[in-house]
């Protein structure tokens, strides 16, 4: 297993003020995300049919479910890339479903998003990818941005790949850089879309450890969409299992193991 360098990342609370960042992580006692009655359809296909889910500050919730049950759609609704047909989404107490683009962009600064395939900008180097949100949303100088980028990349074990292009690094490395970019603005909420998909078991384990380490250091609320039950067990405080557009069960891994629900039993059996 990877042993990331300890103490490299400075905590959000210590460093954000000096960097001109409006830190949104930690220190907020209310729920980070509250979703109520979310509905989303694509044509005649109903994907989400009344989702109720909340995530407390500093809590990690894994969202599981079969393919095509709207797990990734859920994340895109939270970050505002899609608008729900009906329902409410509150991020740190602010209703986001009716926000203007400018207001939504302000909310987005409080969130970090790791896409399924990392979605690194392939015309920019690794360092420029991580610097991208810093250049646009902070008043940091180029030297400060350079230091912060090195710090973030060291935190994910990628400090030697600063000048590499995304196409020249492996999928696992791209995920690490994507994580560093997602953490650049010290978000209060991390949205991770299949962070271990397509990776070998060892790299998956390394990514899980990295997520755990970052959660300890940054105290962010996280919503992790995954197919990987073992990964969910490792990194999540709670697991929400989606089925037929609804949350079938929402509880700890042990709650899922003890559940008498036929679908939950089948899901747990297939994965084990």
């Amino acid at each position: 297993m990877m042993q990331p360098e300890q103490g490299v990342l400075v905590s959000a609370e210590e460093s954000s003020a000096a960097r001109g960042l409006e830190s949104s992580g930690g220190g907020n006692d209310g729920p980070a995300v509250v979703m109520r009655g979310l509905h989303q359809s694509f044509g005649s296909q109903v994907v989400l049919d009344g989702i109720d889910l909340s995530v407390a500050s500093g809590e990690t919730v894994a969202v599981l479910g079969r393919s095509g049950t709207g797990k990734s759609v859920l994340l895109k609704l939270i970050i505002g890339l899609q608008k729900p047909d009906a329902g409410s989404i509150q991020v740190f107490g602010q209703e986001i479903t009716r926000l203007s683009l400018d207001a939504m962009n302000e909310v987005r600064k409080k969130m970090g998003f790791l896409f399924q395939n990392a979605a690194l900008y392939d015309s920019l180097t690794v360092a420029q990818n991580v610097a991208f949100p810093l250049r646009r949303h902070t008043r940091m100088t180029e030297a400060e941005i350079g230091d912060r980028v090195k710090e973030l990349l060291a935190g994910v074990g990628m400090e030697r790949a600063l000048e590499k292009m995304p196409s020249n690094i492996s999928g696992g490395m791209q995920k690490r850089v994507g994580l560093a970019r997602a953490l650049a603005l010290e978000p209060g909420i991390l949205l991770l879309d299949e962070p271990t998909a397509g990776l070998d078991p060892i790299t998956s384990g390394e990514i899980d450890e990295l997520i755990l380490k970052l959660q300890e250091e940054h105290h962010t609320a996280s919503i992790v969409v995954t197919h990987d039950l073992q990964s969910a067990r490792t990194i999540a405080d709670r697991i929400a299992l989606l089925h037929e557009g609804k949350v079938r069960i929402d509880g700890s891994f042990e709650d899922l193991e003890k559940s008498e629900d036929e679908f939950v039993k089948e899901f747990m059996k297939r994965d084990s």
Binding site: N105, A119, S123
Partner: protein, 227 residues
């Protein structure tokens, strides 16, 4: 407009769209100038008017051939490039990632590319015009040696500033068309890699079509205001 002004991205696009199009535009201008001189010569000789060749060549290149050839060459190179680049970014969720990080992708990606197209097309047209006239002189000299300065003096004898200005600035409209269509087609790509191919193709086809149509209207417009 608020910070950031995306100056870094704009510079990158000026290089990508302008500097890197220069060789192919210059080559196209040179070829057209060379062929135009050869073809015009045989016609003019028939009427005993070969002394008019420099003026005919310069007038033809500056007024129509240079701008439209530059526009169509850039349609091919930049139109396809924008459609494919932004299309790939769309299907690999890079545009979503830009939006998710609180940055307007239209301002960051489309605005910079459209502005770069508008700024670079007139400059590329001047390069095509220069190469066209230069290779027109070379073609003429191969048949009947004539000093370059005399060729230029004859060619530009009757030309005024407005002869240059309106046709060259017309290509800024071509740049607007190429940039807007390329970005629009790229950013609305759907359907994976097949969609990227379709976006690149439709960018070239649509921008070429609209550049030709705009050329017709703008020539008429220019003739009204700069008779």
């Amino acid at each position: 407009m608020r910070r950031p002004f995306e100056g870094r991205e704009l510079l990158r696009q000026l290089d990508e769209i302008g500097s890197k199009s220069l060789p192919v535009v210059a080559l196209a201008g040179a070829a057209i100038g060379f062929v135009l001189a050869l073809e015009s010569r045989s016609s003019l000789v028939r009427f005993g008017a070969q002394s008019m060749l420099p003026a005919a060549l310069v007038f033809s290149i500056i007024h129509e051939t240079g701008p439209i050839v530059t526009g169509l060459v850039v349609c091919g190179r930049v139109g396809a490039g924008l459609g494919a680049e932004l299309g790939s970014m769309k299907v690999t969720e890079q545009i979503d990632a830009i939006e998710a990080s609180g940055v307007n992708p239209y301002k960051y990606l489309a605005f910079t590319r459209i502005v770069a197209c508008i700024l670079m097309l007139p400059l590329l047209t001047l390069a095509a015009d220069f190469c066209g006239v230069l290779f027109g002189w070379i073609a003429e000299t191969l048949v009947q040696p004539v000093p370059f300065h005399r060729f230029i003096n004859h060619g530009f004898a009757g030309a005024t500033f407005s002869d240059f200005l309106a046709p060259t600035l017309r290509t800024a409209v071509f740049g607007l068309i190429i940039g807007t269509i390329g970005c629009f087609q790229g950013m609305r790509t759907q359907g994976g890699t097949a969609g990227v191919g379709l976006s690149a193709t439709s960018s070239v086809v649509l921008s070429s079509l609209f550049v030709i149509l705009a050329d017709v209207f703008l020539v008429k417009f220019i003739l009204v205001f700069f008779p």
